[in-house]
Symmetry: C2
Amino acid sequence: RSSLITGCYANRVGISGALVPSSKIGLDSEELTIAEVVKPLGYATACFGKWHLGHRRPFLPRQHGFDEYSGIPYSNDMWPGHPESPKAWPPLPWYENDEPSEIIKDLEGQEQITRRLTEKAVDFVHRNADGPFLLYLPHSMPHVPLGVGPRFRQTTRYGTYGDVIREIDASVGEIRAALEEEGVLDRTIFIFASDNGPWLSYGDHAGTTGGLREGKGTTFEGGIRVPLVVRYPGVVPAGSVCAEPCMTIDILPTLVELTGGKAPQKPIDGRSIVSLLRGEADASSPHEALFFWYRNVELQAMRMGRWKLHFPHNYRSLEGRAPGNNGIPAKYNYKMSVGLALYDLETDAAETTDCSDENPDVVARMKTLADRMRQKLGDTLTRTQGSEIRGPGRLPSG
Amino acid sequence: RSSLITGCYANRVGISGALVPSSKIGLDSEELTIAEVVKPLGYATACFGKWHLGHRRPFLPRQHGFDEYSGIPYSNDMWPGHPESPKAWPPLPWYENDEPSEIIKDLEGQEQITRRLTEKAVDFVHRNADGPFLLYLPHSMPHVPLGVGPRFRQTTRYGTYGDVIREIDASVGEIRAALEEEGVLDRTIFIFASDNGPWLSYGDHAGTTGGLREGKGTTFEGGIRVPLVVRYPGVVPAGSVCAEPCMTIDILPTLVELTGGKAPQKPIDGRSIVSLLRGEADASSPHEALFFWYRNVELQAMRMGRWKLHFPHNYRSLEGRAPGNNGIPAKYNYKMSVGLALYDLETDAAETTDCSDENPDVVARMKTLADRMRQKLGDTLTRTQGSEIRGPGRLPSG
């Protein structure tokens, strides 16, 4: 989330790993957000959904350029209804702007979230369609615990997870309809993306990678390769598909280019992907390499064009274990390990066959790029301190 | 249901097959019900749940000896939310006594049914515990569409079906607790039973037969062998298990014996199973044979002690087809057939091995009993008219 909001690798802005209700840090006020990029242009801005960039007052959306905020401040399973650690979590609040307005006390509350966010979004569109606006809608679903409104329950062949996805799909459809009704659909950049792959331990309450290796919580493709859909007539050719890699760090600089908004003063990692969006014949990724940290700044893997390099690290897997069911997860094996391994994603997206021996030059080049990046943003696997890490916002002490 | 209520094979009282919203028949007022057995003894009586013995006013529970009624008049999938034939059904009403009080218009309404019936039952117990009472609670769940209250969703490892069963289990627990609180638990006959085996086409929204052949809608054991649990201290030895066959037709005469209530004047099929309930050493089924009709009085099968005899008939099966999922059923193959086949349920409860050739005397005896029964209650497989069929109650014509 911090990557999408700031255009930076999360560790650059000091947020590495999911914040928990006891966290006292958050997104620093010095970081420029997607909302602050367009705010000076007169945009109305709103965030409806899961914020998760600090739920203490100084870190909430309204302190980061969003005029309006409604939603939950962190993950929806950080609550007393957690199937494995209910006592770890305080009651889950729902916020309106800067204040908690109510408690989501049971699954019935969870089941209303998608509808409520959709209504907020549609209302925002109708209220602001006569001027420019930016709407950031981070749905909390399909994160567990899965909650689906009665209108969508038992409407797909794919169980509760399928029903939840259908409700999200309908949400997108309603917002699209609102834009159309207001006559602004075709001059709106519509971006839809997911934040990580399926949470495999939840079995039927998670999605599928379609054959990619592993899932959420790993740097294998099953954990990080997700859909990105962009609609913007006149820029994105209808129906075009792009195979070049990009990341959520690229959203902010892309919006800067498309809107003519304010660019961040501080260094960011993302690059505009407008040429990719335009489908230009010779367009390629603006990045020589993309980097994947996990577990508090372990630089576990990186990608360079067709190549994916894993550095030796441990990861979690269900390997040989039955997945969970009906919202109750199975336990991962956290001791799986992968050594230095190069995969050719063009021919082996499932990351099955290490081809580092056959491609020493590729490995050498990637290692060089990785070293450079480690020096900047750190890596606990090699005990490297990053020189460019800016650190999160912190509550005043005392 | 007519069997349980009247102690008769359903076709004896003219109700063979599930009534639909357009049905104009119902349980005839001349039939004596379990409520009318005990009413003259001063019992307070109530039916909370799925009635399905005629939803026209002359056939409703209050016209059959029940002081109070709340619930749905027929199956909960006979509504516009039906996944396969939504247009076939009118809105599903909820009744309070003789009148529809509201419409169950969506799944959210279905999800409240179990809780509402439980509350009705608990309230009834508290209001009537100072005198004798009879409470008939035909839960409409776990019939599809499955509806489970938010308190029970995602609380089992077995999906929505598991959650629904857990809610029903909790319902029984709450009623038991109410009886205990009132100090009447140990002088209450507590009977819990199911009405048929799993609806296999609904896949994960049905239960399992645990290896029995076929399911609901057939006369194989998977369709008809169901749990029966009776608690009655002083009569039923705690923890005892009885392997003798009985049927819901036996409930009424058993209640007649236990309560000293009024016995029906007209012939019934059931027999008291009090000696079985007492766990008497030499007790055996009071029936030489039990008979299984399906598809409007096809006498498809019968049981005599350890023996089960099927008469040649067609049946439905998923044989070789994937079951449905998430409330959307698969289609049955209705053209499966079984010939004359004898199974030894003591060694072959799964009905896999026809042993009619080895047991000609058994087959002959059973055929004789079947012929006698056909003469009385009819059989469309052999085009036999039954002489003792009394017919249902009908609305006055014109």
